[in-house]
């Protein structure tokens, strides 16, 4: 999730503290706290599975990139030894960029790899789906 959950929670912590002051106008307090509560709910929903989903996705992307190496050289190997969400998300971004390059290269040339990429992209959205998702 971007912006990252820790960054947003830190910001919300400041907002909640600031809105505890009796001098804050109720109009502004209601606006700030109502949305803050919604964001905390979304953060809570995603938190437990966030690292698991990123690890699964990164492994699936690496496998696809290795499979399509003849069309686009895969990015340099990256040891999977840092399981902080920030590190996993950074690696996810690197692999997603490489996947775009690979899919652009195989479109119209290799239906099997293209279909495998689509299957993983679909699976990725299933993993990231939240309760109440519009689609």
């Amino acid at each position: 999730m971007i912006p990252s959950v820790p960054a947003v929670l830190m910001d919300l912590a400041g907002k909640v503290a600031a809105n505890a002051a009796p001098s804050v106008n109720p109009v502004d307090r209601a606006s700030a706290l109502g949305l803050s509560a919604m964001l905390m709910g979304l953060a809570a929903e995603s938190w437990d599975s966030a690292a698991h989903h990123l690890v699964m996705e990164n492994r699936a992307f690496r496998a696809l990139l290795a499979k399509g190496a003849a069309y686009a050289p895969p990015p340099a190997e990256h040891a999977e030894d840092d399981f902080r969400l920030s590190a996993l998300a950074a690696e996810n971004g690197r692999l997603r960029a490489a996947l775009i390059t690979l899919q652009t290269a195989v479109e119209g040339r290799d239906a099997a790899i293209n279909d495998a990429i689509w299957a993983e992209l679909r699976a990725s959205t299933e993993r990231r789906k939240t309760q109440g998702s519009a689609v």
Binding site: R96, L121, S133
Partner: protein
């Protein structure tokens, strides 16, 4: 507790109404949402010609950094062009483009009071029985917007011109540039959609008309009888292919998980209403192009809201909400339109 904006708004209104005395503002409250503008409702009162008067009003003020960058004059003029026509729109009163009076540019309009805008209420009583009528009104009004003559209503003077054959390319290029500038992580599904859109362009627009730019369930005021009393949020209005608006209204993200156009009726029913009202034809292939385009546009808007927060220009929680709640759903919408979900 009086809000600090109230006396400042009153001073501004007093300056616009030299014949009025005792100008005052009360009951200011902020309307939730409004990621592109801060929206407040309030009651303005004054004395004019010896008579005490009051009016429910709306203030729409630019935030420090917005989810979408728009020209407020174009938004203001779009409201003005349609007010009093078959497209219900609130009356615009004053546009202020300077930072002096209220720190950021704003406009003040009449409040069309007593109706709902939030889509969430529609999925429960007393609204469940109104969906068919509401859909009839919704896509009839959108057809009326498509039918409008931008030269006759003056909007051709304030909105940049575009050739019928270039509508698609101008819009796709604009939103692709937004993605290039603002995305914080690569978006493989949306990039694949863009490649398909460029490889399979739609035919030239049947006419270059006024495009509302954000016409969807949630951006109009409705009642318990299925009537629509005001079309809101014209900040992305521009000249273009009317199919663009129809495509945005049919973006699956606005189905609210109900599998229906706008959460209201099957898509073919919505399209038939629009065709009847606009007098235009929604060629299925061209409409498919515009629905997928609107998945790209939607994602660009959600990405922009995240960017505004990340860069520190706007740390309001409303800037995070679309990025967290809509990004994956918009990806799924694009997959659905491409037949991949």
């Amino acid at each position: 507790m009086s809000h600090p904006l109230e006396p400042r708004i009153a001073a501004y209104i007093a300056a616009q109404m030299p014949d009025a005395t005792d100008v005052a503002v009360r009951d200011l409250s902020r309307i939730s949402g409004g990621a592109s503008r801060e929206t407040y409702r309030f009651v303005g009162s004054w004395t004019q010609g010896g008579q005490a008067r009051e009016r429910k009003l709306i203030l729409r003020r630019d935030p420090p950094a917005s989810l979408i960058d728009t020209e407020r004059r174009i938004e203001f003029e779009a409201y003005r062009a349609f007010h009093g026509t078959s497209v219900p729109a609130p009356e615009m009163l004053w546009l202020e483009e300077g930072d002096g009076p209220l720190d950021h540019p704003f406009f003040i309009a009449e409040e069309i009071a007593g109706f709902q805008a939030g889509p969430g209420l529609l999925w429960a009583e007393p609204y469940l029985g109104t969906h068919a009528k509401l859909a009839e009104r919704k896509w009839t009004i959108l057809g009326e917007i498509a039918k409008a003559d931008p030269v006759a209503n003056g909007l051709a003077e304030v909105m940049p011109a575009v050739a019928a054959g270039d509508c698609w390319n101008r819009e796709l290029t604009y939103w692709e540039d937004v993605l290039d500038a603002d995305e914080a992580e690569p978006l493989p599904i949306i990039r694949a959609a863009i490649r398909w859109l460029r490889a399979n362009p739609p035919p030239p627009a049947q006419k270059v008309g006024v495009v509302h730019g954000d016409y969807r369930t949630g951006n109009f005021l409705y009642d318990t009888g299925g009537e629509i009393h005001g079309v809101l949020d014209w900040e992305m209005a521009h000249l273009g292919d009317p199919l663009e608006d129809l495509g945005w209204s049919l973006n699956p993200i606005w189905s609210f998980g109900r599998g229906l156009a706008g959460g209201l009726v099957p898509q073919d029913q919505a399209v038939a209403i629009w065709e009847r009202s606009s007098g235009l034809v929604a060629d299925p292939a061209a409409l498919h192009w515009w629905i997928l385009f609107n998945c790209v546009k939607g994602q660009a808007i959600w990405v922009s809201s995240a960017r505004a927060w990340l860069d520190g220009g706007n740390r309001e929680p409303i800037m995070v909400y679309p990025a967290w709640a809509m990004t994956n759903a918009q990806d799924r919408a694009a997959l659905q339109v491409m037949g991949r979900l």
